[in-house]
């Protein structure tokens, strides 16, 4: 009850703050949407040239894939691990630690809160993409609903990944190297660059054992009809499993991070 109330207020604050930067967020989203357009054009060109389909994806499915991609990307932005350096060095973490609400909740709520502004911008932009690229795929209502659900759980999962990654800043001031490597791994292993079917089989196997796929390709497959009801259920299963596992990990790492911070100070 207390937590729900705090979430609600914090999310509203996040929304209000983001509202002040409406135009700025439009700029950011435009920047974000160019990335998948590039992939889309490249792979649609290839699929068309190769007789309509490669690796089981038709030209049209590539188009749908990368348009669905945009909502996933706009939604799954989390707290960049780089902010932790500043939080620790400038001592802002102290204010958070003397507040009787876990910092994770504050961060998550605040990020969740500003999503509506971004999604409000996303709707016209995605409609524009649909008009321009004319995907012929018509998802059913349940696919669309499941997709929205999966996008939200995917956001929570990716948020946890980034958050726990950021905690490494408590141990080293050179954590940015690790972030870079993880970001690259995510790009290749999540389905963000290309659908994983285009990758060599061993990469696909590897991706199945990591959380990244369930924050990108997993939700996308649901809406473009690359998976059935059972596959969708399994996808949610993987998402929740990862959220639970990484949630526990986050709790443990956070405890140790605070213990370490409290021992050394800043």
């Amino acid at each position: 009850m207390r937590l729900a109330n705090a979430y609600w207020v914090q999310a509203r604050l996040g929304l209000q703050a983001q509202m002040q930067y409406r135009v700025a967020s439009l700029f950011s989203i435009l920047g974000f949407i160019i990335e998948p357009v590039v992939y889309l054009v490249v792979w649609r060109t290839i699929a068309t040239a190769q007789g309509g389909a490669i690796a089981g994806y038709t030209a049209d499915e590539f188009v749908a894939y990368y348009i669905a991609w945009t909502l996933v990307r706009v939604t799954n932005i989390g707290l960049t691990p780089y902010v932790w350096d500043g939080r620790i060095q400038q001592g802002r973490i102290n204010d958070h630690l003397t507040t009787p609400l876990h910092l994770f909740h504050r961060d998550l709520a605040s990020f969740a809160g500003w999503k509506p502004v971004w999604i409000a911008w996303w709707i016209p932009l995605a409609s524009l993409l649909v008009l321009v690229f004319q995907p012929q795929i018509r998802p059913s209502l349940w696919q669309i609903l499941a997709f929205f659900g999966a996008v939200i759980t995917g956001f929570v999962l990716r948020f946890i990944v980034l958050w726990v990654l950021g905690l490494t800043a408590f141990w080293t001031t050179r954590a940015s190297a690790l972030f870079e490597i993880v970001t690259t791994a995510e790009l290749l292993l999540s389905g963000r660059l290309v659908p994983l079917e285009l990758m060599p089989p061993w990469v696909q196997t590897l991706a199945n054992w990591l959380p990244f796929k369930w924050t990108f390709q997993g939700p996308i497959e649901v809406v473009i009809g690359k998976t059935d009801a059972a596959g969708t259920a399994a996808m949610f299963g993987y998402q929740f499993l990862w959220i639970a596992a990484l949630g526990v990990l986050t709790a443990v790492v956070w405890k140790r991070a605070i213990r370490r911070y409290s021992a050394v100070g800043s």
Partner: protein, 326 residues
């Protein structure tokens, strides 16, 4: 039942020894050398409910380290601290809800939003009942003169205005213990005064216990009857502010006004200022009455007054005189 009690509290930091140069930094990746710095050395004190205690000491004396241990930001190396019967290092929610830490030049409010919105968040986090919240906001608006400020985004406020809304936000939950670390840092004199008055008034009304560090002696004089002086990690004085001079200043000042001053004022003590008819002399405590008597004999004195030295000077003397032990 004391609100804060500290028992041989000690904090030692392990600081990596860093040499300059690329080779040295590569080497230090594998083999780091450390040196131990004792920031706080076995200090003891207790604070009773409702007290306002000034915590004094030069930079690096261990003030902030102590405050951080009392708020659960740092674990003690040894010894123990208890705040409202809780061990602060456990960082229990029950304790955090009853205390507040305010640091000067820090901002805990959302930069882009009006303070009132951030206050709402405080209300949710600290579970302040709606009606109480409304009346508290109202009273803070009046006492701190926040009327024109709480509707503006925090980033548009001046430093002093920001501190006012910050303090308002930090006290909304009526913390029972309040730790203030340099709350008036960088503020102009009127703003300092305003904040001082507010803290005093608030503590009187809610019975909050306050522990405060400040570089401005005016803050201490206005707020604290009791001071704890810490130097090189040790407490060197704990008692009434008014007795501080007795214990540490080995002198008083005598200001004398005479029809004509004797040319050799130095014979009474070290001369602090001298004008046509008025001179101020610093005299060892033990000799004050003897010197005063001599003055009265030597000159035709119009007025004479004996005073404690200014508190700033006393403090400066304290820190100069007690050298660190190694």
């Amino acid at each position: 039942m004391p609100v804060v009690s500290v028992d041989s509290l000690t904090k030692t930091f392990r600081v990596p020894v860093r040499e300059s140069g690329l080779a040295a930094s590569v080497r230090s990746l594998f083999n780091r050398e450390f040196r131990h710095v004792e920031a706080v050395k076995a200090i003891d004190f207790t604070i009773e409910p409702g007290e306002i205690v000034g915590f004094l000491g030069p930079n690096g004396a261990g003030k902030t380290t102590t405050l951080k241990m009392l708020t659960g930001l740092l674990y003690p190396t040894s010894g123990s601290a208890s705040v409202l019967d809780h061990d602060p290092s456990l960082r229990e929610r029950e304790l955090l809800k009853r205390l507040a830490l305010i640091m000067g030049n820090r901002n805990n409010l959302n930069w882009d939003l009006p303070a009132l919105d951030s206050y709402e968040l405080q209300r949710a986090i600290y579970e302040i009942p709606k009606d109480q919240y409304a009346s508290r906001v109202e009273s803070f608006v009046e006492l701190l003169d926040l009327g024109a400020l709480i509707d503006k985004p925090v980033r548009n406020l001046s430093l002093g205005e920001r501190m006012k809304v910050e303090i308002g936000g930090a006290l909304l939950h009526h913390p029972e213990v309040l730790f203030l670390d340099e709350p008036t840092l960088g503020l102009d004199v009127t703003m300092q005064q305003r904040i001082r008055t507010f803290i005093k008034e608030h503590s009187r009304k809610t019975g909050a216990t306050v522990m405060l560090t400040s570089h401005y002696m005016a803050d201490i004089v206005a707020l604290c009857e009791r001071v704890i002086v810490i130097h090189h990690g040790r407490i060197i004085y704990d008692g009434a502010l008014s007795n501080l001079a007795d214990q540490f200043a080995g002198y008083k000042t005598i200001t004398v006004t005479a029809e004509q001053l004797t040319p050799s004022m130095e014979s009474y003590g070290s001369v602090m200022s001298v004008a046509a008819q008025v001179a101020t002399v610093r005299v060892a405590r033990a000799e004050v009455s003897a010197v005063a008597r001599r003055m009265l004999q030597d000159m035709s004195v119009l007025d004479i007054s004996i005073a404690e030295p200014p508190i700033e000077d006393v403090i400066a003397d304290v820190f100069d005189s007690s050298e660190p032990e190694t």
